[in-house]
């Protein structure tokens, strides 16, 4: 009971801290009428039901929202309002200055294991309308509190997939399934697959153990972000990323 209470307090304290520091994007009710507002709404729909609304460019069942929680709004879950204001930027991943549109293309190629929508596509324009609108009032060029996933301190013990497997069964399998397959209801993906053919490929940011560990620690399980200790998050990330998943398309082509 004490542990539960403690976990509860930590969760609340963590959530409160993240919230107090942060920027609040405008409410949905503030989306303007007219063509721009329509584009924002379409962008949000692509974000939350990617397979349906980005048809032809997806290669798995994941949605943007699976990693960017609360429709891309949640601080410490790589919120889109914080991302919008730090692009264009140089990325060592491809050695180029990346516009936001190029950055989103990367998500489609790796996290969504699909195809990059053309730079001038309505799909990328609508997503950018949505991000731009979420960032209403945010300072351009500033790294905002809540941006990305909060970096974890170096693991005290080398991240270990065997310890991770045990922690996975205790903390993750309820929602994501014993074999990381995710869960479906009424034909719709509810809990995303964490590995296998329907999950992100080996070129995705989440395939990096430090990125996955940071995401897990800050955001998992739902409503209990911050409840797992850092070592457990590292071990879980090591386990999840040790499981089979689609190849990095850049390497597959060579």
């Amino acid at each position: 009971m004490k542990r539960l209470l403690l976990a509860g307090f930590c969760t609340i304290a963590f959530a409160a801290a993240a919230h107090a520091a942060g920027f609040t994007p405008p409410p949905e009710s503030a989306i303007p009428q007219g063509p721009f507002g329509d584009s924002v709404r379409r962008g949000e729909a692509i974000f939350t039901d990617t397979q349906k609304n980005a048809h032809g460019f997806t290669g798995n069942v994941l949605t943007c929202e699976n990693c960017h929680l609360d429709r891309g709004r949640k601080a410490d879950s790589a919120p889109m309002w914080a991302a919008w204001v730090i692009y264009p930027q140089f990325r060592s991943k491809n050695g180029k200055i990346n516009s936001m549109a190029m950055r989103i293309q990367g998500c489609f190629q790796f996290s969504i294991n699909g195809k990059a929508p053309p730079l001038d596509s309505a799909l990328l324009t609508d997503l950018q309308s949505y991000f731009f609108w979420l960032a209403t009032g945010a300072p351009t060029g500033k790294k905002m509190p809540g941006q990305g996933f909060p970096e974890l301190p170096k693991a005290a013990k080398t991240p270990d997939a065997h310890r991770g497997a045990l922690a996975y069964q205790a903390h993750c399998a309820l929602c994501h399934g014993d074999k990381g397959e995710g869960r479906v209801s009424q034909g719709k993906m509810v809990f995303p697959p964490l590995w296998g053919a329907q999950s992100y490929n080996k070129g995705a940011g989440m395939y990096r153990v430090n990125t996955a560990a940071a995401f897990i620690r800050a955001n998992m399980p739902y409503s209990q972000g911050g409840s797992l200790d850092a070592q457990t998050a590292w071990d879980l990330a090591a386990y999840i990323n040790s499981q089979p998943r689609p190849a990095d398309p850049r390497k597959a082509k060579k």
Binding site: T11, D70, Q186, V190, Y222, S223, G225
Partner: protein, 225 residues
């Protein structure tokens, strides 16, 4: 439904003799059963030597009733099995269900859960939310309120609260009074048989207005699509 209701009230009365109780249960079962449906298994229609059938309160088709009896039609089977086992062991408290569950065999539990999971009886009339409650309930169901660390209900309970096998119960069409009672029990720490304290944590963040709105919203949605 009036038959089921009266029986539910009657079950608790120690004075009622066993024969009389059984007879009433049978009448209730017959009344609640749709004319052309497959016959429910014995555990549902008649119960055990010591207990009435599930149908005496929940109805053979699993409609439940507005005296705190949950709808079971189309409910997630694995969830119902766990709840019955939790009633047995006392992990979940209920003055009505604990004394009944202790007489159920593992087979009875499986059979009853499988029967109700397979029912898709139309949702009977539930109280309807007003416009403000509908909007508030729908927002919590579909979007949540992360500023209070409340994920959307649907993110665990499935699209429109259809449930996610094996652990997350369906909410659509559920009896609102039951949902309100349960959320209040979670909030008060009287119910705590959730895996990983997931529901207890979220329920603690809900206001009484949230609880009412979300219960009425789900109650107003149709049953299994």
């Amino acid at each position: 439904m009036p038959h089921s209701k009266s029986i539910c009230g009657v079950i608790g009365m120690a004075a009622l003799n066993r024969t009389m109780q059984k007879a009433l249960v049978c009448i209730a079962t017959l009344c609640a059963l749709p004319a052309n449906a497959a016959s429910p298994p014995r555990i549902v229609s008649q119960g055990t030597q010591q207990t009435p059938g599930c149908a005496s309160c929940h109805g053979a088709a699993g409609d439940g009733s507005l005296v705190g009896v949950p709808r079971l039609a189309g409910q997630i089977g694995g969830y119902m099995v766990k709840q019955l086992n939790d009633f047995k062991t006392g992990r979940r408290a209920s003055n009505v269900m604990q004394p009944i569950a202790k007489y159920l065999s593992a087979g009875d539990v499986r059979t009853a859960a499988a029967w109700y999971a397979a029912q898709s009886h139309p949702v009977p009339a539930n109280p309807t939310p007003n416009a403000a409650q509908h909007a508030q309930g729908e927002t919590l169901a579909r979007v949540g309120d992360w500023s209070r660390n409340i994920p959307s209900c649907n993110s665990c309970h499935g699209p429109d609260g259809s449930g996610v096998a094996p652990s997350f119960p369906a909410l659509r069409g559920q009896r609102p009074d039951y949902v309100i009672a349960q959320l209040k029990a979670w909030k008060a720490g009287q119910r705590k048989n959730d895996p990983m304290h997931l529901m207890g944590g979220v329920a603690a963040a809900l206001t009484d207005a949230d609880v009412n709105a979300v219960a009425l919203y789900y109650g107003s949605l149709g049953g299994k699509p």
